[in-house]
Assembly symmetry: C2
Homo-oligomer: 341 residues x 2
């Protein structure tokens, strides 16, 4: 090929320079447009810049850029009840149709009524019976298909929208911003790993293998045609709540996160584990203090206590003492949901 | 910016065309130079081209490009004994120093002799006692540090080299070739997940989170300074052998692989599970038939049987019947190790 003259080279350089300039403009645009200016937003941006700028004393190698996010109450709405529990309750009529003897047996009798207030009064042991009966005993493929069917038609009572619409736009921006800066974003949820994996890629851009959750055993076997299949068993392998979160992170990721986001006492140990690493670490807790736009709950700051997602006073105190950042939904977020303009 | 004249645009196009041409040349270079021409190599290249060419009937979305590899005997040498077992045996003197009463108790008494023939005669239950005593009870960070120290000084008796040198160059090329084509390469090993994760990134280019292995529970707690730590417990969560391999793949990855590589009956169910998916799938088994350059073992094809890595006759028959590819180390590989020229 003919060599370029020096004037042609200069022009070529100009073309490249203009691309570089455009890239710089893009980089300066706001990656977190749904966040109000303030401490929370500054901490996120400051952390990302400190850990991804070559030569920074807090630079983190790309291989070690791991960020973990609780799901319920951190990435999407968890009231009036965890979405997965609503799924399980909606499966009860079909369950009773297949086993009519359950219709008059608790907890199925109450679950059948669909009365969330009555259902909320079931004990944890009773609720677990509903979960086990509706989440196990089928192949993993049949389960995924069932969850997909349900997600396509079920709607939240307040917003009259599919549950997968009820993710928090500001957190979607954090996920995307971290990924754009070389972080692998993991969901670390007390919810069922198999449940969340069904929709994590399309809802959060998080592939199934980056979802860590409460997980049961499966058993490998063959169907009547000799075709291999995995069956979901009522045997718990990982209770991914509280101390189970760092244990699950070690089991499934094998690296300590540099950033962790949660909203309740179930996330405390994940944040402690994250904070205990060297160098820059980002620990954030979302406080639900916005009854008008979403919900207000948890005893911290005098909000009413509820059964799910408790942001306790001791957790709030620990956050203050350790310099973790408490995100105020009311003050830090311009916008709550992607469907709002 | 000044617009380019049409002649300048033509020249700019030429510059881009020359880059494209260079890229094409690169693509045509042999990605598997240590493989002899033949069925095995053709199957690998054919699979990659069929699943990554846009418009191909077997095209696989990048999000679903998962390939799994057994480690011992598939990616590196497993004779005369699994490397991790050698690590455990080497830890026994320190263990006995800390607990002198073990010196005269089996299996520690035999393990202390270092006599591999005598050690090979220990029962599985006895061997497990050595594994539990040397792989649990410490923090995960202390364990990683100990494995790193050992890997830096321990040497294989035949090649007089660190164990991490004894990976198979042709398989390293397959890992790299798959990754260059958008596949995430996972190690799915019967060996300890925590053990393999210590060196997987530097030895295979596989990050810790892409290692699935036999895994024990950990317990989250605090050290005497109140600093969080995870302690390795003698409680098995996943026995990642046989049926445990597809079960482990579901637990840790949540997607069925499109390609799977193994070398023994312990990999049978992983290959069956892989094969049972739709579209193009690649199932390969490495046959150790090269006593001169490595080892020859397993009853398939009349080779002597041994305790580790058994490539049984039924597995060989199943591979033939199902069209899985058997790789002959002797005939398909030009070169065995990276250190050979």
């Amino acid at each position: 090929m003919k060599r370029l003259t020096s004037s042609q080279s200069a022009r070529a350089l100009l073309v490249f320079a203009s691309f570089a300039f455009a890239a710089q403009i893009l980089a300066q645009t706001d990656s977190l447009p749904s966040w109000n200016e303030g401490t929370a937003k500054n901490r996120i941006v400051g952390f990302v810049e400190a850990t991804t700028t070559q030569g920074s004393p807090h630079f983190v190698l790309p291989a070690e850029r791991i960020a973990t996010f609780d799901q319920d109450g951190t990435l999407w709405v968890e009231h009036p009840m965890y979405t997965q529990v609503l799924y399980c309750l909606d499966r009860v009529p079909a369950l009773v149709k297949a086993k009519p003897e359950l219709a008059n047996v608790e907890p199925f009798k109450t679950a059948l009524t669909g009365d969330l207030e009555a259902i909320a009064k079931l004990s944890m042991a009773e609720l677990e019976k509903v979960l086990v009966a509706t989440l196990t005993g089928m192949s993993v493929d049949a389960f995924s298909a069932e969850v997909n069917r349900w997600l396509a038609q079920a709607k939240d009572r307040r917003w009259k929208r599919p549950y997968t619409d009820l993710t928090y736009q500001p957190m979607q921006e954090v996920l995307e911003y971290l990924r754009a800066n070389g972080y692998r974003t993991y969901i670390v949820t007390g919810g069922g790993q198999d449940f969340v994996r069904v929709y994590s890629a399309r809802v959060y851009g998080v592939p199934p293998e980056q979802v860590v959750g409460t997980a049961g055993a499966t058993t490998f076997g063959y169907d009547k045609h000799g075709r291999p299949l995995l069956t979901k068993e009522p045997k718990l392998l990982l209770n991914d709540n509280d101390a189970g979160k760092p244990e699950g992170i070690h089991l499934m990721i094998g690296q300590r996160p540099h950033a962790a986001f949660g909203n309740s006492t179930g996330d405390q140990q994940m944040l402690e584990y994250t904070a205990a690493g060297d160098g820059a670490r980002l620990m954030m807790l979302l406080l639900h203090d916005d009854a008008a736009r979403e919900y207000a709950y948890g005893p911290a700051m005098g909000l009413p206590d509820t059964k799910v997602g408790t942001f306790s006073q001791p957790l709030y105190d620990e956050a203050q003492k350790n310099g973790w950042t408490v995100i105020s939904m009311k003050n830090d977020w311009k916008r709550i949901f992607p469907f709002e303009q």
